[in-house]
Amino acid sequence: MDKKIRVLVAKPGLDGHDRGAKVVARALRDAGMEVIYTGLRQTPDMIVKTALQEDVDVIGLSLLSGAHMTLFRDITEDLKKNNMEDVLVIGGGIIPEEDIEPLHEAGIKGVFGPGTSLDDIVKFIKENVKG
């Protein structure tokens, strides 16, 4: 693929834990992707609008507050409404095992918990992004 993969790293909801999002953003940039970071306190609507404007291939959601079941799903539903199902959506944070399957079903293709290697995220994106 000649074109650089464009990724939106986003912090939905009120959660202020941005360490993981920033580390992942840098790792993706170092891996040759173009990264846009939304900053904090983004509503699902703001994230989908930014994704549309920036024409991204991937949205990486980071949430450690426990609100992922609501907010991640709000985002994938919004994407569907906007015919943006081709955008690869992945998420990370404090996510209990039992939530992973329902999140997959909701369209969060990759769910990455604490201890994930940055390499694994990079590989996952490269293998799953639609060119």
Partner: protein, 558 residues
Amino acid sequence: MYDKDMIAKIEKRRKEWETTCYEPLKAKIPEREEKFQNLSWNDIGPLYTPADVKDHDYFEKIGFPGEFPYLRGVHSTLHRSRLWTMRQFAGFGTAEETNLRYKYLLEHGETGLSVAFDYPTLYGYDTDHPLSRGEFGKCGVAISSLKDMELLFKDIPVDKITTSMTINGPAPVVWAFYIANADNQNIPRTAIGGTIQNDVLKEYIAQKSFIFPPEPSMRLTVDTFEFGFKEIPRWNTVSISGYHIREAGSTAVQELAFTLADGFEFVRAAVARGLDIDTFAPRLSFFFNAHNDFFEEIAKYRAARRIWAKGMKELGAKKPRSMLMRFHTQTAGVSLTAQQPEINLVRVAIQALAAVLGGTQSLHTNSMDEALALPSEKAVRLALRTQQIIAEETGVASTVDPLGGSYYLEWLTDKMEDDTMRYFDRIEQLGGVIPAIEKGFFQREIAEASYRLQQEIENGKRVIVGVNKYQMDDEIEIPILKMDERGEEIQINRLKKLRADRNQNKMDRALAALKKAAQGDENTMPYILNCVHAYATLGETTDVLREVFGEYKEPAIF
């Protein structure tokens, strides 16, 4: 501390030891690392001797506990007379659910309370605000009004137990809920004690639950200082926090330097308002992290006390109480692993031991399941028991500063102090703490450190047991906390009823008076208390302040 001849002799012998003993063995059996580095990337040598602390004047640098410069501890008897307060940070779901958790913890020997609020509360939104969607009760308890605070402390004697509240942006309002709850039970304001975190500076730097821009935020903070020493003398009106700076990815040295820089900034702001330093300074408290590098953590607490004492003296403090740094400690949440969660018990025990050996005044021990969810009852009980074992079985609390005088520890303590002073110079060159925040200085320093550490974890240079070494194929599963799913509905109905039942005129008048006070330069606390007593909600009261002060938006940098 040592005479010159003795030091010369030790230095000479040290060199001989190195050439005749250490180097030959190292040549034969190579060391495990080419360079041993602590978590601040300081090189750690194979051996420390009196020569490494040769310039120490014992009285000036080390001294006695309970005396300047307080390196060895804030009290002469320290944990021999009173153990640290065992204070588990807790909160989830509704006020009722959290109230039961507090009673559970108290039954099992906890000695102080610590409230974790959910995100809407941290940002001054009521549960029914659109931005609260999905966040209700998730990482703390939802407190939207005085009514909720009454339920949170139902049958808990607030005149007998102290409470710490992790609240920053809307701290004056939530503190007012607590005070009003005591007022309504006819408990004198002089009888209640506790802490509000109320450290907005570290919000911009790390925790990010700011609401207003720095200047009005500092004004509100100083309002609480002034109101506190006049009305609620047993209250710590700020807990100047390094914890979140560290969790956001800083090194131990950065945690120390940035936290103390914030501390001095608060003091300067209060002095600029015309407050007498010896009136408010005794109510300033601190909050540090207890991370994995055992000695570095202990050195950090000791250095913090010495730097604070010296700095406060320079700023004109006269009373000993104004110079001594009391602090709370929490073990490092970020060090917990989702893999093999039970091994977190071991990490927490060692981190907690460092906090105790460093002379902490109160302590929270994390639960083993916190990389997965909020703690279950069993997990939090084990965390509390960890403190009780340290306190009552190990003997470490039998003497004050038991590691004082360790050549390594004293060298490291000095080094961390020196490194902190260098950071102070850099911050001053940027124009002070607030300009440095606005330039993104702290945020960048922290992001650099956290990325560097992550890369070292990736390449295996730093070992995380269970994550990049000693992994298991079959993951260990442990039961996790389940919350009452009807919680949000209960809370929203309670808010509806509150809004319908209260005296609307009285509340409107109170909110209007607060607005006027905020626009002028009167202390806002009495006005906030009036709003709260009239059952104005957290959101309604904070909205008045938002309207007057505006909201802060940070630049998104990574």
